[in-house]
């Protein structure tokens, strides 16, 4: 069985920075695996600006931010395995990897989980009606538009005013689509003020607070949704062919299930799978700190 000192799961900002810092601490073997075909995690699909002000002191796009860290990976003493998924972890400090290289176990001394988040989906809400095509999570729509150059729809409603919802509302406008508005259950915008301004106000996209979606219509493709105004209780039907859901992020810790849901002493969480960060700069900073500590620990210099 292949043996490494440190296994890092996830090649986004957190995983890369942690792996780099650990490898920088001295002669430790570090293996980083990611299920995507490239490094960067979620960053390559975030083509808008606003990244790096805190860490690189520059206003960068997601791909630019990722590229700066990827550049450091080249030449660093970190082995990288892409297109590779960690299927499970065991108490004996082994991981089962599945990728194009096959299906293989890896033994490790320390583990850093940098698995990011997944998005809450509409299935978790009490939304009734049909289950048509045209309902996408914000991240899914973002990947379709920015990475695949697909156009999911034309007449769009966004449910949820977190940052991802705001950014995607603007993204659809920039794609030439009609964005009917961003629907928010709470009384105010959920995202950062700067995103509210640059995404909604500047593009005259209405924010509908104290409102939610209660029903989907359309048997093949989405034809509309029923909105409920929470204060008045009134409902109205709105025609649209696309509903983008930005319902929040859930730290992705599914791998811990195999360990009884507990975090063992030899494992650490890092980045958004630890807690959801507002900006990536703090992810990088936290990951570097953790990576350094783990590296020192592995070298016995604690």
């Amino acid at each position: 069985m292949e043996k490494v000192d440190l296994l890092v799961v996830g090649g986004g900002a957190a995983g890369m920075s942690a792996a780099l810092a650990a490898a920088g601490a001295g002669p430790v073997s570090v293996l980083l695996v990611d299920r995507e075909e490239r490094l960067g995690g979620i960053l390559p699909q975030c083509i808008h600006q606003g990244f790096g002000l805190g860490y690189f002191h520059r206003d960068l796009t997601g791909p630019e931010y990722a590229a700066r860290i990827v550049a450091q990976m080249e030449g660093a003493a970190v082995s990288v395995r892409l297109n590779t998924t960690v299927l499970s972890l065991s108490q004996r400090r082994t991981a089962e990897l599945s990728g194009p290289g096959g299906y293989e176990p890896v033994a490790f001394r320390r583990l850093i989980l940098a698995t990011g988040c997944r998005e809450k989906t509409i299935g978790s809400l009490p939304v009734t009606g049909t289950r048509p095509a045209g309902v996408f999570t914000a991240g899914e729509a973002q990947r379709m538009i920015n990475l695949r150059h697909w156009r999911p729809g034309r007449k769009v409603l966004v449910l949820g005013s977190g940052d991802l919802g705001l950014i995607m509302a603007r993204r659809f406008v920039l794609e030439g689509c009609q964005v009917l508005g961003v629907v928010e259950q709470k009384g105010s915008c959920g995202g950062m003020v700067r995103n509210y301004r640059s995404c909604l106000l500047e593009h005259r996209i209405p924010l509908m607070t104290r409102t939610t979606v209660t029903r989907l219509h359309g048997e093949g493709r989405l034809t509309g949704v029923t909105l409920r105004h929470l204060d008045s209780g009134k409902e109205e039907q709105v025609a649209c062919d696309t509903l983008v859901t930005a319902l929040g992020l859930i730290p992705e810790r599914e791998l811990l299930a195999g360990l009884g849901g507990k975090l063992p002493g030899w494992a650490s969480l890092c980045g958004n799978c630890d807690y959801v960060h507002e900006i990536v700069d703090t992810v990088t900073a936290q990951a570097e700190e953790l990576g350094r500590q783990v590296g020192m620990e592995l070298l016995g210099k604690k």
Partner: protein, 483 residues
Amino acid sequence: MERYDVAVLGGGLLGCFMARELRRHPLKVALVEAREDVCTGISRANTAIVYTGCDTKPGTLKTRLCVAACKGFGDLCRELGVPFARRGSLMVSYGPNADQTLQRKMIQGMENGVEGLKLMSGRAALEWEPGLAPGVSSALYAPDTGVTDPWELCYAAWENALANGVTPWLNAPVTDLLPEHGGWRVVTLRGELWAAAVVNCCGLHADQVQELAAPPTVRITPEKADYLILDQGAGHYVNHVIFHEPEEKGKGLTMVPTLDGKLLLGPSEQPGVGPLSATTEAGLDRLRQLAAQVAPELDLELTIRSFAGVRPKPYNVVRAQSIHDFTVTNPARGLWSLIGIKTPGLTCAQALGAWLAPQVADQLGKGELDSTFRPERKAPVRPRELTREARAALAARDPAYGRILCRCGGITEGEVRDAIRRGAVTLDGVKRRTGAGLGRCQGAFCGDRIMALMARMLGVPPEDLQKDGPGSRLLTGGRHGEG
């Protein structure tokens, strides 16, 4: 015009098994389906339960087929490579009225020939199922109740039918049935075929299809029901299939620990208003209320999806009365209709085919068995079910079986490729064949990856891909470079 011995109309569970069972005889069989794929109608949404046969009246066709089918279900699933588990079921009551119902069903079940039934005390039931609300007054245990994968079962029957020479007529909605040369001219939107006999298995539309050629005998009312699915983990909340027998009139809660570790709640019966695939607030609220009542510790926050299923409720228009047995009509020579086959239709799909096929074959003078018929179908490769060594060897042979496309279900690119090769042409067709997109992320991670793969393999632009049949395009914003 292509000529067949038998044209089976409808590619749901009934039609696919009908076609397969007909091929045990030396018959040339066509399966005519309106949609682009099989398993797109009412077979698509149900509880996945294989019933023992203690719920139905003694002496009926339904009971006879159900009891035998349940006993043989393990063999059938082994033969066709379909997952199946005898979870056993507990029917639980919370009061004297329901206690009586349980006793009645116990006696009825024994009379029907169901084995192993046991009436238990409420306390004993709670020991087996500590997640149930306290106060269970009695329980009826049926060890043979099973859970299967209804989609896989339908695809298995279909693939086995094709392997035995059944000719597929997909995308062929039937518009007319005309008597001709002692048989039937079947007119479809894809062209015409002639068959000496026609077996109508058109589910919700079986009455309309029969009435193309014969006077009405049975009419169907769609009966809608809502279901909730809770994420992996919730499946451990109960150890058996639970049928809650309510004390008052109305439907209780059914809880099904599915084969992939999820928990299915439902059905909650609703009048058939609105689109048939639409869930209702009243239906879902009722399920949540019942769940809170019967399974108080169950975390409904684990809900990942709700869906609506439809069953065809038959009504005899000649005698003006509702029908409780399976209805198989023979309204004209060489024409049979299976109308209003609902619960336990999944359990009995193969049995109905095996029961009717010899009758059809006999009438065509071809009742003998065809020695070339092969009943086995090889299950698709599912790496997550293999041993480590076998899995490693498989991935080494074909790297696509190493690449995970659906993280929630641990489903590989190899399985998705295989599903497309086996006939999936829509995203939901891939989902039903592989399970990709059924997990907690509901396809948010794998959806576009599968679409890209489908577009490549099917040789179509992604903009042409449908979610679930005509009118359900996934990308409607036009292509890049266009307006």
